[in-house]
Point group: C3
Chain length 354, copies 3
Amino acid sequence: MERTPVMTSINANWEEFYSKEISEKLPFFAKEDRLYDCLFAQQFDREILTGLFKTADALRTLTQHKEGMDFISNLLSDKRAMLYFVQPSTRTFLSFLNACHIMGIKTSEIRDTSTSSEVKGESAEDTVRTFSSYVDMIIMRHPTPGFVEKTAWLMNRTNRPVPIINGGSGKDQHPTQALLDTYTLYRSFNGEMDNKTIVMVGDLKRGRTVRSLTYLMKNYKNIKLAFVSPGQFRMEPDILEFLKRHNMPYVETEDFSSVMKEADAIYMTRIQDEHDKAGESGKVDYSPFYFRREHLKLIKKTCVIMHPLPRRHEIEVSVDEDPRAVFWRQERNGMWARAALISHIFGVDSKIKH
Amino acid sequence: MERTPVMTSINANWEEFYSKEISEKLPFFAKEDRLYDCLFAQQFDREILTGLFKTADALRTLTQHKEGMDFISNLLSDKRAMLYFVQPSTRTFLSFLNACHIMGIKTSEIRDTSTSSEVKGESAEDTVRTFSSYVDMIIMRHPTPGFVEKTAWLMNRTNRPVPIINGGSGKDQHPTQALLDTYTLYRSFNGEMDNKTIVMVGDLKRGRTVRSLTYLMKNYKNIKLAFVSPGQFRMEPDILEFLKRHNMPYVETEDFSSVMKEADAIYMTRIQDEHDKAGESGKVDYSPFYFRREHLKLIKKTCVIMHPLPRRHEIEVSVDEDPRAVFWRQERNGMWARAALISHIFGVDSKIKH
Amino acid sequence: MERTPVMTSINANWEEFYSKEISEKLPFFAKEDRLYDCLFAQQFDREILTGLFKTADALRTLTQHKEGMDFISNLLSDKRAMLYFVQPSTRTFLSFLNACHIMGIKTSEIRDTSTSSEVKGESAEDTVRTFSSYVDMIIMRHPTPGFVEKTAWLMNRTNRPVPIINGGSGKDQHPTQALLDTYTLYRSFNGEMDNKTIVMVGDLKRGRTVRSLTYLMKNYKNIKLAFVSPGQFRMEPDILEFLKRHNMPYVETEDFSSVMKEADAIYMTRIQDEHDKAGESGKVDYSPFYFRREHLKLIKKTCVIMHPLPRRHEIEVSVDEDPRAVFWRQERNGMWARAALISHIFGVDSKIKH
C-alpha cells in the first residue's frame, strides 16, 4: 500500500499567498515596469491599457502589408508558447493561437486532458511544470479557481520561470476578455474614454465579463453604469460595493428601454445556464433582455453594441449589418489585444510603435 | 422561457440562392479572373486546370532544394488559415495542412466539435464567422450538404470575407479530390489529356469521387468512359444524362475484364458501406471488382491504376510495387494540387512559374 | 461477401526480418555513417552518443540568443514532420514537437485515432504510408510491439522512404528516453562517463526506461549498477544475463539505504500499475522505494537524482529544490537531445558545432 507523502511546506505557503488581497500580490507577477504574468484584470491600470491599445493599433496597421507582417512575425520568432486549455473554448483559444502566430511564436496545444500524463497519476503542478520545460510562455484556461494563479506562483519560485497568461480560470478571472472589451470601447470612442455611459444587459450575476469590465471602468473618469437584468440575475453586491467605494454612479433596472437612449455602449450577454443549480434559467423570461432590430432606431447614432460572444438570441441576426454592431470587430480586437499583451510581456512592444 | 427569435430575411435569401443552377452561382464565388472560394468541381474549366497543374509542377520542382522551398514558404508567410474539419478525415486534412505549410501559411485546427462553442448554443453560422475573424482563409469539411457553400455565401456578404475552400461537404461535393485525380491523369499522360479511355470500378452509385471526376472529364476531347460496378451500385442516372448531353460515350458493365485491356486509366474505389441503409453492402460479392496481381499482365503498359484511398481489399497490396500503380503518387499529388490552388486564390501563382 | 485478399509475400518477409537479432538489423536502418531511422537503443554506440551530446550542448548555447535561434530554426525550415502518437503521451509528444520547432520543422499531429482513416477499414500500414506522403519524417508512438520497426522497414522498401523515429513502441523500445537519460548523466558528470555507480530504484521489472538505460551503460567503462526493487518487481533475467555477458558488475537489493551512499546517480521510477494483470501493484508496499527529503543528507554531494517522470510519490516534492534533483532538467534535456538526433538524421549537425 502506498503511503500518503509527507506534507511539504509548499501548499501551506501557497494558501497564505492566495488569501492576500490582489493589490498586494501584483508585484510578485510583475518584472521591472512590466507585467510578467497576466492573471487579473486588476493588473491593468490606465497607463498600461493605453500602452497596450497603442501597440494593438500599431500591429494592425503594420500587418496590413506583407513587409510589415514579416517584420512583426520576426520579433518573437525565437519563442515557443504552450496553450493549455482544459476547458472547452474555441474563441479564446483561436484568438490566442493566432495572436502567437502573428508574433511569430511557435505553438504547442493541449486541449484534451485525456491525452495528458494526469492519467498516470501526476499532480497538476508537475504537469504544468513539464509544459514549462519546453516553452517560453504558457497560456492557460482551467476550471479550478486559483489554479492559473498557483501555476504562476509556483513557476516564479523555480529557477526557470516562464510567463503565465490567464485565458480564463473558473468563474473568477478572464483578464484578456476585459482587455479586449476595453480596447473595443477605446477604438469605438476614438480613444476618448472618459464621460461615458455603459449599459450592461443580461445575466449579470453569473457573467464573468461584465464583472471584469466594471472593474476596469474605474480607470476612466466620470463613467456611468446601468445594469439591466432579470431580478434573479442582478449584479453581485461586491461589484456594487466596489462602485460605491470609488464614487462611480450606477443604476439597476429591469427596463432595458429606460436606459437604452443614453448609452454610449450597450454590452449584451447571454444567459449563463451552464451555471444553473436547479434549472433556474428556464424559469426566467429572458426576452426583455434581447436587442432587437427595432431598437436600432432608439439608440444614439454613436452608440456601439457589444457582446462577448457566443450569442444565442440576445441580438437579432439582422442587427449585425448595422455599423454600430461592433461585436464581430470586438472578437477580432481580442486577437490584436492579446498580440499586444504578448509583445508587452516579452518587451518587444517598443519596436512596434509606428 | 426564451422566445424564438424573429425570423430574418437572411435564410430566405439563402434558400433562393442555393436553389440556383451551379453555373449561375459561379461569378459570386470568383474574383476578377480567379477563383475566390473553391466549392464545386464545376468551377474548374480546362484553362484553370492547366494553370493549376503547371503551378503544381513548378512547386514540386522548386521545392526539391532548400532555397526553392524557402522561397515558396515565404510567398504567403503573412497568411493564416483555419482548418475546420467536423467530419473525420485524416488524408484530406493532412494534405491541406501540409499544403499550407509548404506555402508558409500558419494554421489553426478545429477537428473535434466538442471543443467548439456550439456547446454554448451558438449557431453554426456564428461559429464559422468567428473562425474567419482570426484568419485569412477557411478550409472546411462538413457533413451537411450545402453548409460549406452557405458559409462562403455568408462571408461574401460581410465586410471582411475570407476565401472558403471545400474539403468535402456531405455527399455532394469534394472539388479538390476531383482536382487531384485530374492532376494525376495529367502527370500520368504527360499532359496529353484528350483521346483517353477511363475505366471506373466499384461502388459508383455512392462514390463521390467518380461523380466529380466524370464531370471534369468534360473538359477534354474524345474521352471514353467505362463504368464497372455491381448492379446495385451503378452510376447514378444524372451523371449518365450529363454524359449523353455532352456526347461523351460510355459503357456500363459488371465484367471488369471486358474493359480492362483498353483502359488508359483504371480508377478503383472501395465499397461505401458507411452509406448503407439496410446492410446492402454485405449482400454484394464485391470481389469481381478487385484489381489483382494477375491483372497486371492484362492491362496496357501505359495504363495507370488509381484509387482515392483509403483502400480495403480492392487492390492487392503486391500490386503497389508495379510502376503503373500510381495511387500513392496520386495521394501526394493532392498536396501539390492543393498548394497550387491556394497559390491561385491568393494570386501568387504567377511568382511560382519556373 | 468480401473475400479475404490473397496473401502476399510482404508479411512473410517481414516476419523473417523481425526475428533477426537487432545487431543484424542495424545496417538496414542506417545511411552511410548516420542513423536513418531511430528505432532501438542499441543503435547508439559511444561515438554516436558523444556526437549527439555535443550537438545538443551546442544547440543550447546557440539558442540562448535570438540570432542563434533564428540560425538554428533555418537549418531544416524546408522539412515537415508528422507526429503520430496513438498512445497517450504528453511529455514525449511535447518534447519532440518543440524539438521540431527549434529546428524550424513544420509539424502535423495525429493524436486521436478516432479521426483516422482506420475507421474506413484501411490497414495500419496504408495509414502510415499515407502520412509519409506529406512529410519528410515520421515520429511515432504505438502500442503494438514491433509496429514502429515494421513501418520503417516498409518505408525503406518504397521509392519514397522517410526517416522514422520511435517515440515508444509497446513495452519493447523507447530509444530517445535512453538517449536523454544518458545525456543527463553526461551533463551531470561533466562528460566523465566512466567509473560510475548507477542505482536504479522501483518497478524495474516493468519499467522500460531502466532496461534501455542499462543497455546503454555498456558503452562506458567500469560502470557499477545497483538494482533496488520489491521482490516482485526485480529486473528481468535477460538484462542480468546481458550484464554478465559484458562483465558489468551489479547488485540486487530491497534495501535502498544500503546502496544510496555510493551512488553517482540514483534513477527513481514509479510503479507501472497500468501493466497489472491482477492488481499485483496494490499488494506491494512501495514506500521503501521512495526518495525522501531526509535522504538528501545520506547521498554524495555530487550524486544526481533522476526520474523519467511522471512521478507519483516516489520523490518528495520538497526534494525538487535541492540542486542534485536533476529530473526537471532531465526532462528538458529530452527536448535538446531529440533536436540533436533530428539534426543528425538530416545531416545538419555539422553546421551546429560551435
